[in-house]
Amino acid sequence: MYRKLLYSSILATSIFSLLLAPAATFAEPATSGTLTAADGKKVKVVHSEKMKVADVKLKDVVTKAKDAVKEEKAKSKSETYDYILFDDQQIYTYEETPTSPDGELVVSDATTPAQTFSAMATSGQTDFIDDGVGGKQKISKIGSVGSYLSTVLKLPTGSSQVSDVSSSHSPYNYAGFEYTNTANSGIGSWQSDMGLQYYQNLGFSGTASGWKPILTLKQKTGADTWTAYQINFDSTYNQAQYHNGFKPGTSTTIYTYYNYNGKVRMKLTGTTICQDMACNVSGDYSNTTIMESNAAWNITKIDDFKLLSTVVSSNNTGLNKAVYSSIKVDGVAVPSSYFLTPQQDHALVTRDSSNTVTIDVNSSLYTF
């Protein structure tokens, strides 16, 4: 199956200080400059893309980013705001922090990933994940699915709750949506995964654990072809820039939109282990991160929203846990009747009277 996978390569580096080692040596060469935004603020721009993006394009991106951050600041009180815009050529990561209030923009190329993020459902109720283990809860509001789903995700922490990251294990906790076109060989179907991937090489020292945002959007464009757009911060490419992540053991609120002014969008609010993406300031900080498609896909309908906890693994083993509470569609608590039969692959999916969904992935405990 051919996939056009687009992927972040945050190779840029922050050159905030040169105390002992030039920061530029930390990654591939990057250049930096400033750009005057529409609001008159000087925005630092770090270029790590191969073909420099024109300033007029960057100004447009900064305007979008500043508008999105301004909108979020009116709704929530985070210390740090990250806005990540992606298209089929570049990834733009814009950040405002208390120590960088005018903003910083990192431009990087979208490239083909070394490994794919799938853990996709195939069919059936057991062993439904073809490249790992996990559990899945679909939520379907008959008639009108709604424009967005929100939920509070309690993240697992420590090796007793989540597999260590290795070449054979990669844990994910995420929400998303699905739409299957029943006609035309399924062409026009959509799948989106929006959530968090576990890393253990974060923080300023590269030894801290955390959960980094990931967004995958796939469209079926041929009888056997899915075209995919993906943003994540895989360790292969992100060492110079994205050292931050959501803190294990804390709660993160996820908002998933399939049509936010035509665009696919994820918003995350929670506690991160650093104030800024380079982790110049470490500690617990409130963070709002938005990931958004540059293109307006104008997805008009979906079949269902979904909640998952998975481990991509080469040997069908793994450990992970997600507790999804306050599950709402369009801001309204989802009633019991919307929850479909869960899928379990070496996992147990339970739901209590408050409709809190717990997905416990444990290949040692659950053999089904």
């Binding site: 002992l20 923080g203 300023f204 020292s205 380079a278 500690g283």
Partner: protein
């Protein structure tokens, strides 16, 4: 006596020095003290400030050190010099005078990392950083005789 002191200080850097790195790199440069290779483990984050575990580096410069777990403040003293650093703060203090840091000290993976150059220079030593190849560097610390 001085040789014994240096030897014991270098040995001390092995203890509680955090994770060990088999080979040096730009992110984990080798560190030399008065010409001798030290077991001190440094890490260079994107800010460019080399960070090291706090106890070995304060031992290295012969400072008495205390750590307040509640405030996450480490205080080191020696012959009229007092250094204070707090996890997560960009403000360091030398004899009560505030100094802006480019990288916060912090606790990661149960190791409290502090700013190497800030400590060495305020303890009377000097630090040089040298790139020795495309992907490797070394740090040379000179402490007063």
């Amino acid at each position: 006596m001085k040789k014994v002191l240096i030897a014991s200080l270098l040995a001390a850097t092995v203890i509680g020095s955090g994770m060990a790195h088999a080979s040096s790199s730009l992110e984990h440069p080798s560190i030399y003290v008065n010409g001798q290779k030290s077991a001190l483990n440094g890490v260079v984050p994107p800010s460019g400030s080399t960070m090291v575990p706090f106890r070995p580096v304060f031992d290295l410069v012969g400072m008495n050190v205390s750590f307040d777990d509640k405030t996450k403040i480490v205080t080191a003293t020696k012959e009229g010099v007092e250094i204070k650093l707090q996890a997560g703060s960009l403000d360091g203090y030398v004899n009560g005078k505030k100094v802006h840091l480019n990288q916060t000290p912090g606790i990661e993976n149960n190791v409290f990392y502090v700013n190497l150059r800030f400590i060495i220079e305020n303890a009377g030593g000097s630090v040089t950083w040298k790139k020795i190849s495309a992907d490797d560097a070394e740090i040379r610390i000179t402490l007063p005789e």
